[in-house]
């Protein structure tokens, strides 16, 4: 257990954006909100999965809606608080800790903000280990826990309680319709789980993982160094290529920004062509037409200069990027998980998921050796 500091929050914003794999919304607003809670005197403890009591009562929390709306219609500030309180009232039990539904992007901040207001800890883990577009794509749901009872709160004071749904897909459908009616954004408290279940189903350690990633980038920025190699070393990921975006096709499909990025290799990767398919998040990386990495493994675009994540909404022609891939957690690689978050679930027909092999750590005396 440790207490989250302002510097952790700064780092979390950077690391969570990287784990957002192009989606998940920008953590900037959430970061400011978290910092404000901490500066106002709130203390938030981060507890590891192994520290959770089996009979703990853990609530998953996250914002739902369009990031483009959330940067304009900022939150009232206590949406998450109201959602958790409504869920507690229905369940007749107080939440003992909160856990993120999604560590990737802006949703990394939601549990911290609400935990600060409720005075309870945040669990070091989440339901995705990255960002995914739909609510049933959490490991909580994949391994059999229902998302309901769940509560959705908006900025006006409306709270909608979902008591029963026919399936996780129905929950996603009904919740999203509510979010549109609420003006495009809401905070949801879902899937009240036992500590025992969370220990089994949550992707472990992802809050501290994101914080560590952020610290690597911040240290590299201070030293005017390129953090890409250090990020890959830390995460045992692969630096796939350095590239320039030479074409970008994107359109709207069922509420998703869907498209393809074409990349030309630069510097050492000159002569290589690649493309990335995205649906809010980056789904698949192909080199010379051959699939190399796909969901649920993480395909990430970093700004070639500063190592900051590039999201699908700010992609543009001519951008210089480092493409990296990080292995997802084993919980996302089981048959049950692949049915929900594998390539077929995203309509990538004919693509077979081949797990990205974790790269061996570099020799200890060469901490920054680029390896690929």
């Amino acid at each position: 257990m440790r207490t989250l500091t302002e510097s952790d929050i700064e780092a979390l914003a950077i690391g969570a954006a990287i784990l957002g794999t192009g989606g998940g919304g920008n953590p900037y607003i959430g970061k400011l909100h978290c910092l404000q809670e901490l500066r106002g005197g709130a203390r938030v403890e981060l507890v590891g999965l192994d520290e959770l009591a089996d009979d703990a009562f853990v609530v998953s929390i996250g914002g739902i809606g369009a990031p483009a709306v959330s940067v304009e219609k900022l939150e009232e500030g206590r949406e998450g608080y109201r959602a958790v309180r409504a869920l507690e009232a229905y369940c007749g039990r107080k939440a003992s800790a909160l856990i993120a539904a999604e560590i990737g992007g802006g949703n990394s901040m939601a549990p911290i903000i609400t935990a600060a207001q409720l005075g309870i800890p945040v669990v070091d883990g989440d339901g995705m280990g990255r960002a995914f577009p739909e609510m049933q794509m959490t490991t909580y749901s994949i391994y059999g826990h229902s998302s309901v009872p769940a509560a959705l709160a908006d900025e006006r004071g409306n709270v909608v309680l979902f008591r029963e749904v026919r399936s996780e897909q129905w929950f996603e459908r009904l919740a999203r319709a509510n979010v549109v009616a609420m003006g495009g954004t809401a905070v949801g408290a879902e899937a009240p789980m036992s500590g025992r279940y969370v220990k089994r189903a949550a992707v472990p350690g992802t809050v501290s993982q994101a914080i560590a990633l952020g610290h690597i980038v911040m240290a590299a920025n201070r030293a005017h160094a390129n953090p890409v190699a250090s990020i890959c070393a830390q995460e045992r990921g692969r630096h796939l290529m350095d590239a320039k975006i030479v074409d970008l096709k994107r359109h709207l499909e069922g509420g998703f920004s869907v498209g393809t990025i074409r990349l030309d290799g630069i510097d050492r990767d000159g002569g290589t062509v690649a493309d990335i398919v995205f649906q809010n998040e980056f789904l698949m990386f192909r080199r010379n037409g051959v699939v190399e990495v796909c969901v649920p493994d993480l395909v990430i675009l970093l700004d070639a200069d500063n190592g900051r994540a590039i999201t699908t909404d700010v992609l543009r022609y001519g951008q210089r990027v480092a493409v990296i891939a990080l292995p997802c957690h084993a919980l996302l690689r089981t048959p049950e998980a692949l049915a929900v978050v594998g390539p077929a679930a995203f309509g990538l027909e004919g693509v077979t998921y081949t797990p990205l092999a974790a790269v061996a750590p570099p020799p200890a005396d060469h901490p920054n050796t680029p390896y690929r």
Partner: protein
Amino acid sequence: MFRIGVDVGGTNTDAVVMRGRGVLAALKVPTTPDVTDGLMAALAGVLAQAALAPSQVGLVVIGTTHFTNAVIERRHLAPTAVVRLCLPAAQCLQPMVDWPAELRAVVGEHAFLAEGGFEFDGTPISGFDDAHITRIGREIRDRGVRSIAICGIFSPINDAYEQRAAALLAEACPDAAITLSATMGPTGLLERENAAILNSALLPLARRTVSGLRAGLARCGLECPFFLSQNDGTLMPATQAERFPVLTFASGPTNSMRGAAFLSGHKDALVLDIGGTTTDVGLLQHGFPRQATTTVDIGGVRTNFRMPDVFSIGLGGGSIVAGAADAVTVGPTSVGYDIIRAARVFGGSVLTATDVAVAAGRAQVGEAGLLAGVDGALASAAMARIERMLELAVDRCRISAEPLPVIGVGGGSILLPERLGGVRVTRPEHFAVANAIGAAIAQTSGEVDRICALEGVTRESALAAAEAEARDRAVAAGAVAETLVVVEREDVPLAYLKGNATRVRVKVVGDLRI
């Protein structure tokens, strides 16, 4: 008709006289602390050089970094009240939450939240409370604050409540200067609010500066219309610049790039603007600088102004050459404007990029004879290094493999080789005053940037409606309708939101009716 373009930079004030496409006179004078004196010296100088009477001039356009510098240096900023129309939303973060503390102290802690925001589809979040706004107006008046920024949620989609609040605040606080955030930029509440606050804080300075410029013109006998150049390379009447000073923030690099386009005749090209310390590289598309899509930091404040996407490297005419022939470095340290004393060719003792360019026979400035002791191998290694730095910088800004022309402007462009990355480099005549030329040739524009729900409307018809509105706005800004061309037309779908909402952006530009 003759037109005068002026660029008031931090160091030099450049002025040109143009007629049609011809540059009749060009001159550089030092910028003076009181902008007006330098301006008058420049105006009098070019008029004399072109042998013109002031009455023959039909238009003066001025580009200035004066307002940007005021923010960066925290000078001349007025205490400003912020009225955010948002309740019950957006209470989680106060206005100016992420500003540098000393800038927030200068502007003052005068933030008010009230009802009056909209949803993304333009329906009210919670209505509007006239009495509340009037109470806020009285409070602002009693605090002695006379600059106000109003920022309503989704005002770029519907500014009705911002307008209504402005009327009520003006009534309660009759001498207040007010900025509406809807006039500042697209969605992104904090960034747009920040822009509106900076604009309001600059309003008194803008009035003083513009009237100083106007007085300078009058004293030179120039009674023609007078415009300022904007961030996007188009112009706005001086009366509008008095109300929207922040829209001039990026006029410097923009004018250089526009001037480069004009001088070279290329509409799609890469522009290298090489000064004493840095090189700015940008991309021209349809004769306008390509715009950055990310937030822009001005003096530590996040804004979402549309600024040119310029990439800078630490290489200029004054960059210091160090090391030996097998490990030479050029820049980023520079002798800067001291080059006319410090560089070897000018009798100084520092080996600069300009010296090695002269030694390599690429440029002829100063006294080549003073370079007798310079190691030839070092000079050619330094030139190779400079070429490589410029090549990489240019390559970064390309957006396709298509070999776009490369244009060099600015005083340091003497460093440029004849070819870069296999493409011939153009260094047009008058390259040193490209920024003043960019000001002189500015056109006028109209822009629409909004989120549309595509319910029962096709994407194409939403774009067509936005284009028609952009054309109307350009004509209202003084454009000749027949000359309008579309320079940007795009739609970006909003992720995670069913109902197919999309952000539509259209911009048209055309010649000014004079």
